[in-house]
Amino acid sequence: MSTQTNQTRDHTFSRSATPPPAPTAPSAPRAAWAIVAKREILAKLFDKSFLIGTVLTVVIIAGFMVVQAFMQDRTQTYNLVASGSDVSYAKTLGELVTKVDDKVVVDVRSAATADAARAEVLDGSADAWLHKDGDDWTLTAATEVPDGLNAAASTVVRQSMITSNAEKAGTTVAAIEQGATLKSGILKGDADKQGFAKVMGFVLAFLFYMASIAFGMQLAGSVVEEKASRIVEIIATKIPVRQLLIGKILGNLLMAVAQMVLYTGIGLIGLSFTQYKSYLPSVGAGVGWFLAFFLVGFLVIACAWAVAGALASRTEDLQQTAMPLTMLMMAMWFSVFLAKGVVLTVLSFVPPFSAILMPIRILEGTAAWWEPVVALLLLIVLAGFIVRGAERLYRRSLLQTQGKLSLKQAWSAPE
């Protein structure tokens, strides 16, 4: 071993021979949790799979919005062929169709004979052939009658035939139809908006579920990794374990909320380019509530995941210690589809279900102003208990290395 070692050693000795340097003896860092949180955030920002996942989700949301905006402005033109005396009716139908559905335009072609018309459909120069079959007008296509054309044409044929039949009978359509239609209506919100809100609610619930699982699994994984590698023992001699937990939770919470703000922000911006932009104010408020519920709900879930990690001693144990939590996540996700009526109303107050169900009710417009306030307060109360309980469980199980622990063992474990 070389001179280099000796030189370094001499250097060190000469240093220790001089009066001792001002004590570098470190004192407790003022905000250890902030140092831990910073590491968690940086670890995420440099994690390729996290970055790729985020970018991919943004692209999917933005892409969906672009497709929506594009589809709404597109008109579909159909070529309709008719022969002989049917041509004049086909032309009338072509004009009326666009009045029924402004996205459908019909070009009428006339063919010399029925056979020629059939041939045009078969060779693709016409989308469908309109002809009279007995008393009924018939639309014939090569393999499938296009939906858009079929729907609009049916309405036109029905209306025109009823009108002419009424005239023949010496009455009017209005007289025949009087009192014959069943109108439907809803008292809360409006129907179109509610359909839209339902879809929006599913999307938000899905994002909530995905974030809880993805961030949660990673958080639990990193807790058990620290535990299994015993680096947690080095950390625990430097800072209180509570600070480690707070730092890990806050780091992940910040990243999860930032990611969710990014997703919903892009969704809302995209929405302003679609036909649904009139819903923007009410949807925006709903999303705002969703983010508030996500913030508190994720705090609860992240604490639970951290405990699941601390109960395990090795990564292999994690699946078992996290089992109750994965079941709860599944139950929350299924409640989005299954909870209806009174059950939905009740569950939308029960934490942690409220975190996912109340925002859906707000979007649907079925929640009175005070309902989300109460639900959020209840969730915050639960979060208070969970954070305290998790802190105790985490602290007591983190340094236990003899296999995995049950909740009960961890709760009563000596420190």
């Binding site: 071993m1 070692t5 370094t8 050693r9 060190t12 000795f13 220790s16 001792p20 570098t24 003896a25 470190p26 004192s27 407790a28 860092p29 250890a32 140092i35 831990v36 590491r39 670890a43 990794e225 620290e226 299994a228 590698s229 015993r230 680096i231 023992e233 080095i234 950390i235 625990a236 001699t237 430097k238 800072i239 209180p240 340094l399 003899q402 000596p414 420190e415």
Partner: protein
């Protein structure tokens, strides 16, 4: 000085550490020796506050140790672990910051230590890319870079090649030269013998020997080997002497301690009877003493 007083820890029915007491003196390197399951790691974890204490206490300069004292103690756990995916320098900076160092102070100390271990050019590598020996060096840097007030190291030498053992030993000596107490556990008795001022031997959770290497060697009666030119059977009747083994002209004897100067009296008697080929004090190797005390 770190004083361990009557430390006891039970796991269920098993008493892993049973009334263990010893001191780690300032400027002294104390070796902590014992077989697997003897309770070394449990004792060290209790001293570092990582494990609850059933009975006993740990003193720091005469008063109960606090979290602040522990924060100023460099600790290396037995199982080697760091964040595998993080860069070495970032990881050590993180641990330094948690110890209360500023990022820049930590970085300077880290680079100095990395240079010393010949790892400076790998500062930006991920930990998982290092060999196990190098990972261990990184971990010892984590314990030393804060210029701690004490060191508690669990098996710091295991898995190191002889060159690395030497440079690690040099490094530890520098810290005892600063006047801080150093406690390390090891299975390698020759190493402990070479490095340590003080030795604590643990067996089945109890301290079975505690002292300097010389004290341990001298703990039993003094033994001598005597080789004569003729039959040595007569040594059995010399007062103050216990003949452990007599085989022809060779004898191994112990001084009973009842009669001062019995060794010299024996030598004179032997010389008066004829030729004395050898008369020598038997100094047992540490390994033999270790086997004896832990048996």
């Amino acid at each position: 000085m770190i004083e361990i007083q009557g430390l006891t820890r039970r796991f269920g029915d098993i008493t892993a550490v049973d009334d263990v007491s010893f001191s780690v003196h300032d400027g002294h390197m104390t070796g902590f020796v014992g077989g697997n399951g003897a309770g070394k790691t449990t004792t060290m974890r209790m001293a570092m506050g990582l494990l609850g204490i059933d009975a006993g206490r740990v003193l720091w300069n005469g008063r109960p140790i606090t979290d602040a004292d522990r924060r100023r103690t460099g600790y290396m756990p037995e199982e080697r672990g760091l964040y595998p995916k993080q860069k070495i320098v970032d990881q050590l900076t993180y641990l330094g910051e948690l110890s209360g160092m500023s990022a820049s102070t930590a970085r300077a100390a880290i680079m100095e230590h990395l240079e010393r271990f010949g790892l400076a050019d790998r500062a930006d590598d991920r930990v998982e890319k290092l060999s196990l020996g190098n990972q261990q060096r990184v971990q010892i840097i984590a314990a030393l870079m804060t210029q701690p007030d004490a060191l508690i190291l669990d098996e710091p030498f295991s898995g190191l090649d002889p060159t690395a053992v030497d440079s690690m030993a040099d490094l530890l000596r520098e810290h005892t030269a600063r006047g801080i107490p150093v406690l390390f556990s090891s299975h390698q008795l020759d190493l402990v013998e070479r490095l340590c001022d003080h030795l604590v031997v643990l067996a089945k959770g109890r301290v079975v020997a505690d002292g300097t290497v010389d004290q341990l060697r001298n703990r039993g009666p003094e033994r001598y080997r005597l080789v004569l030119g003729s039959d040595a059977g007569w040594v059995r009747d010399v007062p103050g002497i216990h003949a452990v083994d007599v085989d022809g002209a060779r004898a191994v004897i112990e001084l009973t301690g009842e009669l001062p100067g019995a060794d010299q009296a024996l030598l004179r008697a032997a010389m008066s009877r004829g030729e004395v080929k050898e008369f020598a004090r038997i100094i047992a190797p540490l390994s033999e003493i270790y086997r004896e005390v832990t048996a």
